[in-house]
Symmetry: C4
Subunit: 270 residues, 4 copies
């Protein structure tokens, strides 16, 4: 076996250029989460731009927003897990997927990524597309509809983030660990659904840092607390309930294919 490993490294001469082991992995996770959030906020918010020169519709921007999640999960799912969202990171911490140091690092990466992502948008688009007559608060800023009270708003954000975090918990469930192939599609379309459903009422943020980026650059802070309280409480509550009520038993190691291979290997070696 060690010979095969040798061969594998030789066939990959660039391996020496890369940081090895634990350190590379930690930096790669942090940087991955940062780039993932920046990419997601840039693409998703560009898809929300609406101005007289660039007509748009809520249907188009809602669908695009979910597909931007698809891109970010596809690109960074195997790098950092592609949380993109402090509510998901909080849920992951309470679910036992990540530790508290990583959770804090991810939150920093997400906040920085959202600021950079929206900053890139401001850099490449004409100012009139970002903040104009059609978009007084600024493109992609989450606002409450005039018919929705603050209590209703925070409740809606809470409920739709519960759905979102439930999706994440089911992806982390040991029973579903082999069903990874279309995770990006399922997660992306789930987000599209929730935005098409609730977008007209609260903007369907479900994500504090996704609301933070546009709020900072446009200095639009009306009702902003809703997009922190609703999603974060939902992340904590849903994760704990799912873990207690629904999470499958951990499969014995034999159940995953790596273990299988190791055992077969032993047969051969014996």
């Amino acid at each position: 076996m060690s010979q095969q490993k040798q061969k594998s490294l030789e066939s990959n001469p660039n391996a020496r250029w890369r940081l090895q082991g634990h350190h590379r992995s930690a930096i790669s996770c942090f940087f991955g989460e940062f780039v993932a959030t920046a990419l997601f906020v840039f693409v998703a918010c560009m898809g929300c731009v609406e101005s007289p020169a660039f007509p748009n519709s809520h249907f188009r921007s809602g669908l695009t927003f979910g597909l931007a999640i698809l891109i970010a999960i596809q690109c960074f799912g195997s790098v950092s897990g592609a949380h993109l969202n402090p509510a998901i990171t909080l849920a992951a911490f309470l679910y036992g997927v990540i530790g508290w140091i990583k959770a804090i690092a991810y939150f920093v990466a997400q906040a920085a990524g959202a600021l950079i992502g929206y900053g890139l948008l401001v850099a490449v688009l004409p100012q009139s597309s970002i903040k104009g007559v059609d978009d007084p608060a600024g493109a992609c800023v989450t606002v409450l509809a005039s018919d929705i009270s603050e209590v209703q708003g925070v409740f809606i954000e809470f409920l739709i983030t519960c759905c979102l975090v439930m999706v994440a918990c089911s992806v982390w469930d040991p029973r579903n660990v082999k069903l990874q192939d279309s995770v990006a599609v399922r997660f992306g379309l789930a987000v599209s659904c929730l935005i098409l459903t609730a977008g007209l009422f609260t903007g369907a943020s479900m994500n504090p840092t996704r609301s933070l980026g546009p709020a900072v650059w446009n200095n639009s802070w009306e009702h902003h607390w809703i997009y922190w309280v609703g999603p974060l409480v939902a992340g904590a509550v849903t994760s704990l309930i799912y873990r207690m009520a629904f999470k499958g038993e951990e499969e014995v190691d034999l159940g995953n294919s790596n273990a299988k291979i190791r055992m077969i290997g032993e047969v051969v070696i014996q």
Copy 2:
């Protein structure tokens, strides 16, 4: 092997907080089906809201409805099977997937879930969005178009529910047991298709409890019997036909990967 199990339990110290074995599983199934239906009815019906303040279209609400099914199956498929629908539960019973006690429990969970799910919607939205000039029967209440007679309506509901139940039967078919990865996407888009197809004629309910929730809260019972008779008859007929005419042979246990692992294990142990 027992050592590995030991290790797996130790790495999961919360295991002691959870109900063990059969009882946890039964409660988890019932509660899962309840939450799944509530989540589905809340999200899907919110996506149907249409009022002067919140414009909508049949295309958008039909697509969203199917994606709400995607979310519910993704979250609860591995918990309760995510039937969400008495017609599917009846089909599952006749197909041999579940027993009659579980079938009745699921029906209760679905009815309760639909009532709670729509109730949450009533709680978080302004009353004018639920029942208004554009929606005299109430948001998400299934009604017949004026050009469609009751006989045509029940026949349409019967036929599209046949399609839906056929999808479920094919998912349960032993030949497809390994093709689980994108089930949520396939089922969700199938429902979207059937709603886009038949929604303007009958509302494309295909699901008695999904029709029940909005009907109770809005006290709108016109043609309501159609949404019980059409889907339930379709569930029974399709399940029996599929089982007799199309269902694949049960694969010998060797065919599934767990069996494989067990056998390999035996080799090692021997």
Copy 3:
């Protein structure tokens, strides 16, 4: 091993009610192809209905049409292969997937299914929705746009059916034999794409029997030959080119998982 088989049969007491072996399989294939085509034509053509009472758009009907293919492949892919289309069946015959007896039987099943499927539509909808001012030829009848000549039309049908048959050939390719999970989604969205692309020019039939059903019931035969010549020639040409130029080598039996299981079984038995 025989004991396990025994157990599997006992746990499935209905096995005796079903036809055994080869005969059941042949009847099941034929009947499956018939029901699959009827289901597809019923759902897809209902999604094309457009009348003053039931507004529609080319975008919505094109997307729905592809998703109807998704449903049919999901339900009957493991029963009959869900060709639904003589052009696909011809391609399958020339590719070596099926023999000529089965090919002819499938063609009969498809023609009968299309007639029954559209007949169900005529039965459940008001006559004004099928043939009206907006749809002089009849709902779902494939017609040429007035700007497109017959030669252009047959060429467009030929080219888009080439794309469709190429998708089918790639699904049959030995290299892709393990990638079955999302076939229904990929095929459905591919058909949606081709209809959104070419639907306004020729109706984007790509399927003689799908054009036959509406043509018979509405007695609309203008340019009907195009929808036989274009798709069938495309099916033949594409299948032969793909087989010669692109088809992967047959993998040795060892390559598929059943063989693996059989071998492991031998280890145990030895």
Copy 4:
């Protein structure tokens, strides 16, 4: 084992008609990339046609464009890798997926494919659909919106191509090598997303040859350099960054299923 190979070849009598081994594979790759690009440009650009006789919308053409990528990857992913795009090919070369000879051959195939694909479109559609009042530059020609400066335009093309190439790099990542089933769906929807996001600003080309085809046939070269510089620089930069910062370790051969099978085989043979 040799007997099984024998049997497999006998059951495939046409094997003799095909070129054997290395040469067939190289020609198949080149021809595959050519046909894939022609198919993609033909379908995607036909979906962009907009004229008074054939109404269209940016939403519909953007979604269709991505689904045309889905078709091309589904059909040719296992033949040539279905790059379809010199920026992807450049990224693949720098990532170490292909060598420089193949990279140059792919570029030639892509340029030729784009010219033939758009040529087919010109052949089958009335001239008024290709270049008219609504489309002064020509159907599917990528142009900058009047509000976007050249610097902004090249920056937008750079950034969205970075996203696209990141998706490709994640597909090539050794950690994701088993997640092939829904690659075509994920890639197609990712492209749809990027076009819906940036299409109104720059046309969202992300692909020099896709811009070349329509430009040649319509002789429209305004801002054309942007669609070479932006995507190609993005392809190079993203590939190198992903390789250095994010790419997973090569798995030891044991990790893939073929190796597993070979080892089990040894057990049996021993």
